[in-house]
């Protein structure tokens, strides 16, 4: 299998006032299609930053990132937004569902950017919610769901538009052991059954066990 994600010589710093905080230092990484990659490392090592770059919600200072043949560092802001909606499903540590929207409506959000009809959207949402086992909670609001259920809705939202890659930033970081297991099993299934390429940041060694490949990031460098 060829590599789907190519991170080449990427560096990234943040600036606080006039003082530079180097975060990533000349990172190269490739992720094969269909892979389930775990990214580990101490707090502050730049895991989230790297994940954000791969997902196209932040830009590197140096280097390039090619996903599925597209160099996303070349894209304009609006091209990048369109690219994200077509190719990336994002799963956050704190779910980040929109509280005023029901599970159904949250999952429908990314589909609003497609040309799907209302009926087609409905089918996609229902499918996504049944994949995560929440078909019966469709009309619940986030605050009526448990943390594990919220994260499953978030996963349904991430897969609804059938993206090329799934990126997850500590998806089990806020969950109890049992819910965490469920989420990891779900991600595993998405990887094996639905052939999704997954990049997952985690602190949790048990979570890392589920990944095929685990890379360690420390002080801005990949081990």
């Amino acid at each position: 299998m060829g590599s789907l994600i190519e991170v080449r010589n990427v560096s990234k710093s943040y600036w606080r006032d006039s003082f530079e905080i180097p975060v990533l230092n000349n990172i190269s990484l490739s992720v094969a299609e269909g892979e389930f990659l775990g990214l580990m490392g101490p707090s502050g090592s730049g895991k989230t930053t790297l994940l954000n770059l791969i997902a196209g919600i932040d830009r590197p200072d140096k280097g390039s990132i090619v996903v599925g043949g597209t160099d996303i560092t070349d894209l304009s802001e609006s091209q990048l937004a369109k690219w994200r909606s077509n190719h990336v499903g994002f799963i956050f540590q704190f779910y980040n569902l929109i509280p005023v929207l029901t599970a159904f409506e949250n999952v429908e959000l990314p589909l609003l950017l497609t040309s799907l009809s209302k009926k087609e959207r409905r089918r996609h949402v229902e499918t996504a919610l049944s994949v995560v086992g929440l078909a019966d909670r469709m009309h619940h609001y986030p605050k009526q769901l448990s943390g594990g259920q919220e994260q499953r809705v978030a996963i349904a939202r991430a897969i609804a538009a059938d993206p090329t890659i799934l990126v997850a930033d500590e998806p089990t970081g806020d969950l109890d052991k049992k819910s965490a297991e469920e989420i990891l099993t779900l991600l595993e299934r998405l990887n094996t059954e639905f052939k999704k390429t997954i990049v997952m940041v985690t602190h949790d060694p048990r979570a890392a066990e589920r990944a095929h490949v685990v890379r360690h990031l420390d002080k801005g460098e990949l081990q």
């Binding site: 919600i57 937004a81 077509n86 956050f92 980040n96 990314p110």
Partner: protein
């Protein structure tokens, strides 16, 4: 617009805050339309004035009379259709607080020159026939419950003595812009008594009203009238009715300007109220906007989302306010004697102005939150903690 549902749900996320904002806007809009209506009422005389009428008064001051003899000289000028004249009678009816316009007029010509006072033909005849008859406006009749045949006793002040007038006609104002609270009686009746009791004041006319054939001639005719009486004992000043009315309210201009200014201060307050709500809401949603951007929503989606919410709140507030303005203005005009503000109604222009302001306010209040939402990068937004 597919983000419509989210916009609606966002708007009512904080039910209490949104409700208070809407109420705040509507109270301000009521205050706005009320003030505008007072201002309009003040300028009503100017707006209702006819371009076909000129007013000739004593050049020194409105309170000095003119000789009756001027009438025929004016009437001979080219382009003059009818000349009528009237005196401000004033007097006291019941007590000094009962204020309405009481005027001595040359009845036949006055009714011709003021066709907006609609009098039924039989009443018109009855009024014209009787020496001490008077005609009153329908609004005045309603206020004092005057009926045909009633006698109105008035204690004279400018023209001393006890006076009695019999109501023989009630005029209907042609439309809302016409004053329905005047009382007119025969100038000849006044003049007769002056001739007997104060001969020095006989033949005195307060001012002339000239109906001209063509409004375009107003300037020329005014000049000709004033030229006629140049260097005479009583020089004249002639101007259009609108200019005359404008001069009348000049004295109270400062108060009106203040009210006018206040009505726009209110718009500013609405803007602050809504701006505050929108800034708070948008700030709380910083992270959600970042999530939406992550999902691929663009700047124009966020703009529509925020501006739509702001506009929705401002439009609801304005609609409620304008809707409530009608009963409130109505209530006020019922509580206050009609003759204080003879013309008191919400002008269409007030509604248009109120609605337009609401739209502008809705957009302006959204500008800052929109700018902030667009400027905040996704990464910053996701890291944002209230």
């Amino acid at each position: 617009m597919r983000v419509m549902k989210l916009m609606l749900k966002n708007a009512f996320r904080h039910m209490l805050r949104t409700t208070l904002t809407i109420l705040g806007i509507s109270v301000a809009v009521v205050a706005f339309s009320f003030l505008r209506t007072v201002v309009t009422a003040w300028y009503a005389g100017v707006e209702a004035s006819s371009p076909n009428r000129l007013i000739t008064r004593n050049a020194v001051s409105f309170i000095f009379p003119l000789p009756l003899a001027y009438r025929d000289q004016i009437a001979r000028l080219e382009g003059v259709e009818t000349v009528t004249y009237m005196n401000w009678f004033q007097g006291v009816y019941i007590d000094k607080n009962q204020f309405f316009a009481r005027m001595a007029v040359d009845a036949q010509t006055a009714l011709d020159v003021y066709p907006e006072f609609l009098v039924p033909p039989d009443q018109r005849d009855a009024f014209l026939k009787e020496r001490n008859a008077c005609v009153v406006g329908a609004d005045l009749a309603q206020q004092y419950n005057f009926k045909i045949g009633d006698v109105i006793p008035i204690e004279g002040d400018i023209y001393p003595g006890k006076w009695e007038f019999v109501v023989r006609a009630i005029y209907q104002p042609r439309d809302k812009t016409v004053d329905g609270t005047q009382m007119w009686f025969h100038w000849q009746y006044l003049d007769e008594r002056m001739r007997q009791e104060m001969p020095g004041r006989a033949g005195e006319v307060g001012w002339y009203v000239i109906r001209i054939k063509n409004p375009a001639d107003a300037g020329r005719i005014s000049e000709q009238v004033d030229a006629l009486f140049k260097n005479s004992r009583a020089e004249t000043k002639t101007e259009t009715e609108a200019a005359f009315q404008q001069g009348f309210i000049q004295g109270t201009g400062l108060i009106i300007q203040l009210l006018n200014f206040l009505s726009f201060v209110i718009i500013g307050i609405i803007m602050l109220v809504l701006g505050n709500t929108m800034i708070m809401s948008a700030r709380e949603r910083t992270k959600e906007y970042a999530v939406l951007k992550t999902l691929g929503f663009s700047g124009s989606h966020l703009t529509a989302l925020i501006a739509g919410e702001s506009l929705m709140i401002s439009i609801m507030g304005a609609a409620l306010g304008l809707f409530l303005s009608y009963p409130i203005v109505e209530l006020f005009s019922l509580m206050v004697p009609k003759s204080w503000f003879p013309i008191f109604y919400i002008e269409p222009a007030t509604i248009v102005l109120g609605a337009t302001s609401a739209l502008v306010v809705g957009i302006v209040a959204a500008l800052f939150p929109i700018q902030r939402a667009l400027r905040t990068s996704i990464v910053e937004g996701l890291r944002f903690v209230g």
